[in-house]
Symmetry: C2
Subunit: 416 residues, 2 copies
């Protein structure tokens, strides 16, 4: 289970809270945002049936290759990194063709045999330049024709219905899974975008959805005032406190932090209809490492940040610090006999206290264990929080018009 | 070589510029900051002699294990990730015992055989709780006694002269390399902290120092007004523009970004003597991936950010996007026949233009190739820029008093 606690005063009245519940309910009902319905979608059954039919084990598939960028890669990566130590995870390798960096592409090709690989091309629009370029390269590299059996047996597409990629897939008879039109890339991890690769890696995707669904239901039963109050606080103070730091204790949160940065930054950084620029800037850091990096800035720097601490009660890996006294360094012996998990979590608590003593707004998310249910819950926690902040900031949480200009300039460069 | 360009107006007069040169010169002369002298230190020769004597190849050392956190790990990791594709890099594995995360420790132990490993324990103070705990664990795990030949042959320490770790090393007859007292952890990558592991991985550490030294000399010959102007601009606008984004094009910059975040955040986030809190918040992002994440916030969000773009002219890895037309996705064919490097760099240029059109302060660092010389230059670029910002902000760039409170609270928790 997941416990949450706000360690700052909030000021939203009953009416404000009720309006926020209403606003998100209206988004769900009107179909403005489709992610609310993903926990109940039948995609998980469709994917199970697909995997049963294809029999990946018998076909010797050892590499799951995701070709996608941004919302098409960050969520899957986040969840796999959080859960890869669990017994759910099979031995398949997960490879991302993501950045158009020639060194990364070259690294990816090492030991990547086509016949042992299943390629999942993910693009919501169907024409993402990075993703299509990677696919073209892989087809040439492995000498695969798009009208061959090899292509049909080793590729699947995930895209919007009726996108160019969807049409290509239908023509080429490649399995295609759809992203609902009203689910944006950064909110899509609980759609086929995440469910297909994660299921192929062995994860219990039903438990993932159950965790997400549990929080969603609780929210729409209006039992999650804490979320509303937190979002209200962030939005109310967005001008003088524009930075929201996620301080996650555990190295396996690194990719989750990156997922959070996309979700938060892209959803909330917007030009309002009156022309004003608003937004909240996400920063993800890792404890205890970044106690030796970012913490000094938090403690003594400008009072422009909120902080959320995440900690895990039970990593299910007990490693003790032995009772060894190093000559001249005996003052560190207070930790002997404790586990690394105790040290890590005590550092989290101590750091949190030291930040609170500065009067900085801090809250805590405490996860029991890292498992599919809790991770699904955490994903939904941040998605709902993002929608709530968008509501209070008065922006459209679900578009991203600002990235279009760069794409146009890029095309013009090559047209010249 | 490295080219640099500022694409914004600066307003420092001759006097202000001269005073900044003087201030850093005084820091060097007085010994307040020791990093300025690292390019000329004889540590590189001492390390070469040590490696010749020990003959790591004959002893079958395949793993270089760095036990250290923060300033003791981030710099080495940054440089190795930037350069590991080069012909300098030998086949040894680099392992970090860094976070006290039981899952990370467990991962690290896979295939780690003691007799094939050389352990470098790095702690400036000599008593970092994470690092000493890791060492205690490794001694117990591999059943190594601190008065054995095995310990002396497989460990080296890097620490301040006369620290507890230095005294332990002398007693135990373990090789010890010193960090100059006036070189802080985050400025220490060009000391033994970085030079020893990087040399053991095959890198040309003399070229690394030559690159750093070239910029340093040019700076103290007062030929680097650009650096001074950039720092002056950042400091002058620190209140309304408190966030400095480093947008690096190439996945191999990920760890360099993390090094930058520590250097910048910990150096500049300070409580001034008059009690005011100042600082500049670093954010590191990667192109083109984060065009699909953070870019929307940059373009449409609050005008509270500067941006520095880094790009590499020549990754020395030519991979072409083949002339394949995917049915229904023909509109992406404009990129066919170009290389991934061309695409990546054109994305950098296009994104930079789109950011500049918003009136945001942007500058560019263009690296010819990723090699030791250029990386050394880049390291010194950011160290000097940090010192200059500290000068203009009126803070002590080299201390970190804010992290002490958390350490005290931690000890009290275990004393209870």
């Amino acid at each position: 289970m997941i416990k949450r606690e706000l360690c700052f005063e909030t000021q939203a009245d009953e009416m404000t809270i009720a309006e926020a519940y209403d606003a998100l309910f209206a988004e769900m009902e009107s179909g403005k945002a489709g992610y609310y319905l993903l926990p109940e979608s039948d995609m998980v059954s469709r994917i199970d049936a697909f995997i049963d039919t294809y029999d990946f084990d018998a076909r010797g598939i050892r590499n799951i290759v995701v070709i996608g960028i941004g919302g098409s890669s960050l969520g899957t990566r986040a969840i796999d990194t959080l859960l890869r130590h669990t017994s759910s995870r099979n031995g398949r390798r997960l490879v991302f063709f993501e950045n158009v960096d020639p060194l990364e592409i070259s690294d990816n090709l090492a030991d990547l045999r086509f016949e042992e690989s299943f390629f999942i091309m993910i693009s919501k629009s169907g024409s993402t330049i990075e993703t299509t370029s990677h696919v073209k390269f892989l087809l040439a590299h492995f000498e695969v024709s798009i009208d061959s059996e090899r292509f049909r047996e080793h590729f699947a597409f995930i895209t919007d219905a009726d996108s160019p990629l969807d049409q290509f897939g239908k023509d080429a008879e490649v399995p295609v899974f759809h992203i609902p039109h009203n689910v944006g890339g950064r909110f899509s991890v609980l759609s086929a975008v995440g469910l297909l690769p994660l299921r192929l890696l062995g994860y219990d995707t039903r438990a993932l959805l159950a965790g997400a669904g549990a929080l969603k239901n609780s929210f729409f039963e209006r039992k999650e005032d804490l979320l509303v109050l937190k979002a209200h606080h962030y939005a109310k103070h967005h001008k003088e406190v524009p930075i929201n730091v996620l301080f996650s204790y555990g190295s396996s949160f690194r990719d989750f932090n990156a997922w959070y940065v996309q979700l938060w930054g892209e959803s909330l950084g917007k030009k309002r209809s009156d022309g004003t620029h608003v937004g909240l800037t996400p920063v993800g850091i890792i404890g205890s490492i970044d106690q030796h990096s970012f913490l000094q800035l938090l403690i003594e720097g400008p009072r422009d940040k909120t902080v959320t601490m995440i900690k895990v009660d039970d990593f299910e890996k007990e490693i003790e610090i032995p009772d060894i006294s190093l000559p001249h360094i005996e003052k560190t012996d207070y930790i002997n006999g404790h586990t690394f998990q105790e040290l890590l979590n005590a550092q989290c608590d101590a750091t949190m206290e030291s930040i609170m003593q500065q009067g900085i707004s801090v809250d805590e998310i405490e996860m029991g264990r890292l498992d599919e249910y809790n991770v699904g819950y955490l994903i939904m926690y941040y998605e709902l929080l993002t929608s709530l902040c968008g509501h209070f900031l008065g922006v459209n949480t679900y578009d991203q018009p600002g990235v279009e200009l760069g794409k146009q300039i890029l095309k013009e460069k090559f047209a010249r």
